[in-house]
């Protein structure tokens, strides 16, 4: 069902764990739907110095969290904001169609964490862009 990259990020997830004193935290998802993703950020000079996650969810949710935190490490907040679900799924070499929402969750988690940081900095939160457009583009393995 999952390709090797996904399985690698599921079996050996990068950046797992709660962060002590994070600069921004985003929690998205819903236990009713079977997935909750919590992204922790440490920000230095407008850059993501460290990013970790805690995830309750399926293989794709855990792999997406792992990949998403990898992708945003070292990026400026603007760059990190631009990491779309498509980018996450792409970096994972594709997700099954019914699992693309996990990569969407990762994008949302990053956004939530960045805006949490901005809020703490008393900055205006950034606005979400239309989601549908991303989802249409996202490629994926056959089921």
């Amino acid at each position: 069902m999952y390709n090797e990259t996904v399985m690698d990020h599921f079996m050996n997830p990068r950046n797992v764990g709660e962060m002590t004193d994070p600069d921004g935290v985003g929690e998205v998802g819903n236990p009713v739907c079977g997935d909750i993703m919590k992204i922790f950020l440490r920000i230095r000079d407008g850059r993501v110095e460290d990013a970790t996650f805690m995830t309750f969810g399926c293989g794709a949710a855990i792999a997406s969290s792992s990949m998403a935190t990898e992708l945003i490490r070292g990026k400026t907040l603007e760059e990190a904001w631009e990491i779309t679900n498509t980018a996450v799924a792409g970096a994972l070499q594709g997700l099954p169609p019914q699992k693309l929402h996990c990569s969407v969750l990762a994008e949302e988690g990053i956004h939530a964490a960045i805006n949490d940081y901005r809020k703490k900095q008393r900055l205006e939160p950034w606005a979400e862009t239309a989601r549908a457009a991303h989802e249409e583009e996202a490629g994926g393995d056959a089921e």
């Binding site: 069902m1 079996m11 797992v16 079977g34 909750i36 805690m54 309750f56 949710a61």
Partner: protein, 392 residues
């Protein structure tokens, strides 16, 4: 070779070697079409009738009440739609339970689009249907009661004999999906007052793609597959001789000594189940403590999700399931677990282990070694678990 521990016998089972041996002559040698006149065809015809007798004898029916189908799903569809459309003038009401297999539930949902009304009886927290609820749900427009003999996810065994007694008294046909029950529970269609019964070969070490529907003499039932005159004009299609022969042999073997066979499986199951509940905190056993299939374990591990458990178990060579096999690819938590009252997030963390002939004691030890670590590992990543620990 990598270790393989198969604990998904409720999803499907391998064909037993004796069963395959019985099937083999019918592929390329005794391949005649039983509808034909010549001697070659008579061999096929006798093989079919022999298998029909084997199926009948396994459930206390008479051979002319057994009709071969392509599996449990077709049998369920046939029994339910065939009864509904043939009795439309008599009534339009069907009674079933909330925890039936999708082959029953989706068929009922389809019939709702065709003007029938369906009562989905609730179950208690163990998954039991109450015979009293059945009785109270019957109206003078009720044309069918369909309640499964045993549940495929949580293993709960239903009081079908009581339900049979009630439906027989009220003159309403009673169908039971016994796909999971065959070989595990003693069934006698006469004593249990069953009018129709579905079964499927691959659940008891027979082949896939073959099943049967028992239809008690005198029950009104329309056809699902129209065409040639096979199965006494009730189910068209050239007979799947090897499949039918395999089904007959498999059901004979599966029902030869149900108490002896299930005792062995249940002993392993009990040790595994106790071991899991012992080793893993925050774990619930789903289903009934005693009225359950002898091979079934269904547990919910709080704070984690089932698919990720399966993937990690698979990495250790352990084959298991979360809810029914069909729902594994879906995003919905199991309708059965919701019906017994589990909150969504707990339902998502369910694991079904179903033991069988492929298992030995060593498998129990192995799963008891691997599974707690897998749960621990996933919990260590779970924000729900962290929050719960924080909260204590």
């Amino acid at each position: 070779m990598k270790k393989l521990v198969y604990m998904d016998h409720a999803a499907t089972t391998p064909v037993k070697s004796e069963v395959l041996d019985a099937m083999l002559p019918y592929f390329s040698e005794q391949f005649g079409n039983p509808s034909s006149l010549y001697a070659l065809a008579r061999v096929s015809k006798e093989a079919v009738e022999n298998a029909r007798a084997q199926v009948a004898s396994a459930i206390g029916a008479s051979p002319d009440e057994i009709f071969f189908t392509a599996g449990g799903s077709e049998s369920d569809n046939w029994a339910i739609k065939g009864t509904a459309f043939a009795n439309r003038k008599k009534g339009d009401h069907i009674i079933t339970s909330a925890i039936e297999h999708h082959a029953v539930l989706h068929t009922c949902a389809y019939l709702e689009t065709q003007g029938f009304s369906v009562t989905y009886l609730p179950v208690d927290r163990y998954g039991l249907v109450s015979p009293k609820d059945v009785e109270e749900a019957i109206t003078d427009r009720t044309i069918l009661v369909t309640v499964m003999a045993a549940n495929n996810e949580i293993g709960t065994v239903q009081p079908i004999r009581e339900i049979g007694r009630i439906t027989r008294e009220r003159g309403v046909p009673f169908h039971t999906d016994a796909v999971q029950a065959i070989g595990a529970v003693q069934i006698d269609v006469t004593e249990d007052a069953i009018d129709m019964l579905s079964l499927s070969g691959h659940k008891f070490y027979g082949p896939k793609g073959i099943g049967a529907l028992y239809v008690r003499k005198g029950i009104r039932l329309g056809n699902l597959v129209h065409g040639g005159g096979q199965e006494r004009r009730r189910r068209a299609g050239t007979e799947n001789i090897p499949g039918i022969v395999g089904l007959g042999k498999a059901i004979e073997m599966a029902t030869a000594d149900i108490p002896g066979h299930t005792a062995k499986i249940a002993a392993m199951r009990d040790r595994l189940c106790a071991g899991i509940l012992d080793a893993v905190p925050d774990t619930l056993l789903n289903g009934h403590p005693t009225l359950r299939l002898p091979n079934n374990i269904n547990v919910s591990f709080r704070y984690i999700e089932g698919e990720s458990i399966l993937l990690m178990l698979d990495a250790h060579g352990i084959c298991a399931s979360t809810g029914s096999a069909c729902s594994s690819a879906s995003l919905e938590p199991s309708h059965v677990l919701l019906a017994v009252g589990l909150p969504h997030e707990t339902a998502h963390g369910s694991l079904r282990l179903t033991l069988g002939d492929l298992n030995a004691d060593g498998d129990v030890d192995y799963v008891l070694d691997v599974l707690p670590k897998v749960v621990e590992r996933l919990r260590s990543m779970s924000p729900l678990y962290a929050a719960r620990k924080g909260g204590v």
